[in-house]
Amino acid sequence: MSTHNSPNSDPQASQSQAGKTNLRNYGLVRWIDYRLPFVGFIEKDLIGYPEPKNLNYWWSFGSLAGITLLVMILSGIFLAMHYIPNTEMAFNSVESIMRDVNGGWLIRYIHMNGASLFFLVVYIHIFRGIYYGSYKSPRELLWIIGVVILLLMMATAFLGYVLPWGQMSFWGATVITNLFSAIPVIGTPITTWLWGGFGVGNPTLNRFFALHYLLPFVIIGVAMLHLLALRTHGSNNPLGIEVRSKADTIPFHPYYTVKDLFSLGVFAIVFAVLVFYMPNALGEPDNYKPANPLITPAHIVPEWYLLPFYAILRSIPSKLGGVLAMGGAIFMLFILPWLDRSRVRSCTFRPIYKVLFWVFVVDCLLLGYLGAKPPEGWYLIGSRLAAAWYFIHFLILTPLVGWFETPKPLPVSISLPVLPSTALPQEKH
């Protein structure tokens, strides 16, 4: 990791190049760093790491996602200390957390709303990646690992939503697990195997709890890969052109640490408003009714962050077709780096794709709205049109636009824009 840990480098030697605040002035730090280059790692990969100097606030959402993941894991561990994964006791154990555990209501509301905010942050992060072409060469694997994280998040969120064992938990679990029965021939045995019985029941709840505890740690692992891939070619930037020289970059610390801290502050305010003043606004009232296998809720709807996919699922009249379309919707993200034929990354220089991008954003929001509505009449027609547009956007328009669009002229470098007369002030350091 560090240049200081090669065998022929004397730990004493690094002292000479150290500034007055260098941790290596301390003997113990030097001793450890010679054997385990921890300080070297922090210096190279966190403090001195060169980032493009023109990153805007949309680039804060990556670090926000990481922090939200940690908040979810911490609050989740404390909830798990009081939660009972048994169909007879799960609902009341959650209510006992809300009523009898000191501060339990706070931890649960943080976990509940944190899930929503995690998706919000990650969706913005993904749309940012699409707008600025962050998925293009050489960052295709970085992007794909990110889509894997999204899939893992969806699975984790679904499993977690089942745990309170309310009406929506139970019926959501029934609907989603039943999707697997659409697979020809082996579908029904697979569903039975997932349930651990012939319906959603106690074995299902038990394994869902085990998996819900496991998957976040898998997400941490994949997020590490995401970071590793990110560090290989560095961050993309709003101009979408590669860093050419040192003049194009600034060190991560203090410039982006302080910028990310400010973003974190704003995010925490939004989080606090949700948790303290509208903790149930994003949830379904039906989930405060204990699960009842004999009564089906009038409308079974997933949480808001899965609604666009739910709308796509229901827009196809056949079950297998719906499941394939929903899977296909995610698959589009996997192949996006190869669907987009344009060599220009950033929408700043792509007049047509930029319009398509915003239409696509509206399309996704519309799908989300329609996913919450009953699949009938105009709602159904609307979700069919919107679902069709989703696929037309990826499969037809994205490749086509790449061919015929004339991009605006690209700047020579991040520091040197196209015309000298509009030059940004030069960097001082």
Partner: protein
């Protein structure tokens, strides 16, 4: 450029058509259901708190009217106290504010099955403040048998288990009436304008003067409904006041901290001469 305009105008047209269609549909849907009248609850808003007197009156309505059929299984008698004693050690929790002696007396009115004792026998004893609220029926089947086959739901979370729960339950309690002409009411059901489908198994529970309030408040049907909704809202979300108080402190802290981060960010960015 021309292509861009064609695409955007086509897109706009398509979305406008769709939006228009959706709005028509929405209008049709809203015609069917009467909008819920919004009440001015003391617990609404960022500084909302429960009204202690209303909680005590509401408990009386629950105890003397609702409890005939509805359980409140997530509450214990000790919860009826004030600040202390709700959740052990949690002084921020709030309740109707009955005194310890009052709570003991209320609990003692109910019998709970306990045991086995040292003879190995189950026995009945008066309830204690630490016991959960004793429900009106031994089990769900007994409840159905006594109620024409319908199961009166537990009320512990009723306000949170319905959209705009407080307004909804208030409307439900006050909007009983005669079925309009042409409405097919099933035998044994009752007409209620607020209930989805307008047919409800529960007969009208409040008529006015169902209870005699200890504090002399006139027990109109609106007053009773208002009080019992306050009580049920507290039962569903007993930590609301603590949440509202802590929220102000947390937000105040975060706003100042974020402001400081912003100033720091501006100062550090100045070194680059960029922003």
């Amino acid at each position: 450029m021309r292509i861009r305009h064609v695409i955007s105008s086509l897109g706009l047209l398509a979305w406008a058509g769709l939006a228009g269609g959706l709005m028509l549909d929405r209008a049709a849907a809203e015609e069917a259901a009467k909008p819920l009248a919004r009440q001015d609850w003391s617990f609404n808003g960022m500084q909302g708190t429960y009204d202690r007197a209303a909680l005590q009156r509401g408990f009386q309505v629950y105890k003397e009217v609702c409890a005939t059929c509805h359980s409140l299984s997530l509450l214990s008698y000790r919860n009826l106290g004030g600040g202390k004693g709700f959740a052990a050690g949690d002084e921020s929790a709030s309740g109707p504010g009955f005194s310890e002696a009052e709570i003991k007396a209320i609990a003692a009115e109910y019998k709970v099955k306990d045991g086995p004792n040292d003879q190995g026998e189950m026995f009945e004893r008066p309830a204690r403040p630490s016991d959960r609220f004793v429900g009106p029926f031994a089990n769900d089947n007994a409840a159905r048998a006594a109620n024409n086959g319908s199961l009166p739901p537990d009320l512990s979370l009723m306000i949170k288990a319905r959209a705009n729960g407080a307004d909804y339950v208030y409307a439900l309690l006050t909007e009983y009436g005669d079925a309009p002409g042409g409405f097919q009411l099933t035998e044994g059901m009752n007409y209620n304008a607020a209930f989805p489908g307008h047919q409800i198994a529960m007969p009208q529970p409040l008529h006015g003067d169902d209870v005699k309030y200890a504090d002399g408040t006139k027990a109109t049907i609106e007053q009773e409904a208002h009080d019992v909704v306050q009580f049920l809202a507290w039962a569903a979300e007993p930590n609301l006041e603590a949440r509202h108080r802590l929220g102000i402190e947390v937000l105040g802290f975060l706003v100042i901290l974020t402001g400081l981060f912003f100033v720091l960010k501006r100062r550090i960015a100045k070194r680059l001469g960029l922003h």
